[in-house]
Symmetry: C2
Subunit: 221 residues, 2 copies
DNA sequence: GACTTCCTTACGGGAATCCGTAAGCAAAAT
DNA sequence: ATTTTGCTTACGGATTCCCGTAAGGAAGTC
């Protein structure tokens, strides 16, 4: 079992409950931080002092406040941790249940578990901790399908970028210009049209407005 | 101070922390439910048995699960409570911090307090409970401006409905048809155009896609 | 080399939108 | 009664979007 765990969550009710779960799992040391920036510094400090954490449990969304944050979200923190501490196990504990989000975190950042904060959250978190302790991956049942099913709904950076610009009010022509200016290819107006069309098919959207509304609901952008 | 309080929240970590706050406030009886439907039934039952609750503290968003819910959100629950128990004090305790949401809850449903779940959540909740106990309204500082500032960004049901249909992929013509079918007026294609245009101005949106993206971010739809 | 396949790009016609102008109409103001 | 004001509605032209067709080019296959 883990010996030294860092909990990253802005709400103390949550971090307390996580601490209880960890205590039940016989974890000796649990530290809590409320900001992603603090989390990264603490992990770094611990590594320098040769008292490394052997698990990080983190939320994804953090409220902004007076402090200006370097890492604004759990995703940012995870990206930084994976860059500098690639072997450090990470458990995500979040309200979000969009499959695309889970898929990204598992495939791109190789998080070791994804637990949905809901009615069964604490129980699933305990399972996750035990599973990850045995070097295995854990996903909450409601998001498990995110990775098993080979789905054609796979979305790529290009499409995400396209959808973002679309949602920011750029016309198809402007998106084409933008892509050309930023060296993103393909970038002809015709192809932009085609891509948007394909996405509309994929998401069964009636028009571009509908498409953007749908992908926003899915949390893709 | 209150004597009998009902806590409505999906996540037990939150409800436990709320219970602790209530205990610190010398509240004797605190009941907890995880579903909006249960909350409504419990309030109703208590009223029939002449042991009414004198405060409800509720979240806004609830995860769906196997149970098919009558009330899907805290808003639904609040609407029902306000219809049948108009004098019952209600405190909203939610992650959401969109001003429009707060405004709606305060102006339309007359909730007695709105507390944002964030780093200072528990402290603010305690203040809210004490303030509401003295028959006053409490709003978290970060959303207090929601009601004080007379803002021209006021949005009406008609516009919300319009934006919703737009985001669901209906064309302007279809929206016109829809309004005619549902007896909503004005409903000519020309007016629909004008209204959308006005909204685009109001929100400084470049086009309809941008508009829908913006109002979705604001939590208006 | 000839061929298929997949992707990008160009183009054109029809549909939907954007945007300004103007007519119609009702309530309020003078 | 007339005017003003505000809103709804109709219409027309410019632009953008939508959607199909086809040409061009870079792979890989035979």
């Amino acid at each position: 079992m883990f010996k030294k765990v860092l909990i990253v969550d802005d709400h103390d009710a949550i971090s307390k409950s996580v601490q209880q779960v960890l205590t039940a799992c016989k974890v000796k040391t649990t530290d809590v931080v409320q900001y992603c920036d603090d989390a990264f510094l603490k992990v770094k400090r611990a590594a320098l002092d040769d008292v490394d954490y052997d698990l990080v449990i983190t939320d994804l969304s953090f409220k902004k406040d007076h402090r200006n944050a370097n890492f604004e979200s759990g995703e940012d923190l995870i990206a930084a941790l994976r860059r500098d501490f690639s072997q450090l196990p990470i458990i995500v504990y979040s309200m979000k249940d969009q499959l695309q989000k889970v898929r990204q975190l598992v495939n791109q950042y190789h998080v070791n578990a994804y637990v949905c904060k809901d009615r069964k959250g604490s129980i699933q978190l305990e399972e996750a901790i035990k599973t990850v302790a045995q070097k295995q991956r854990y996903l909450s049942p409601q998001v498990a399908q995110a990775v098993q099913q080979k789905n054609d709904l796979e979305i790529y950076d290009y499409d995400i970028q396209l959808l973002k610009l679309l949602s920011q009010g750029l016309s198809q022509d402007e998106i084409s210009q933008n892509f050309k200016a930023n060296g993103i290819s393909p970038n002809s107006l015709s192809t932009i049209e085609k891509k948007i069309n394909k996405l509309k098919d994929q998401f069964k959207a009636n028009n571009a407005i509908h498409l953007v509304a749908l992908v926003k609901d899915l949390g893709l952008i």
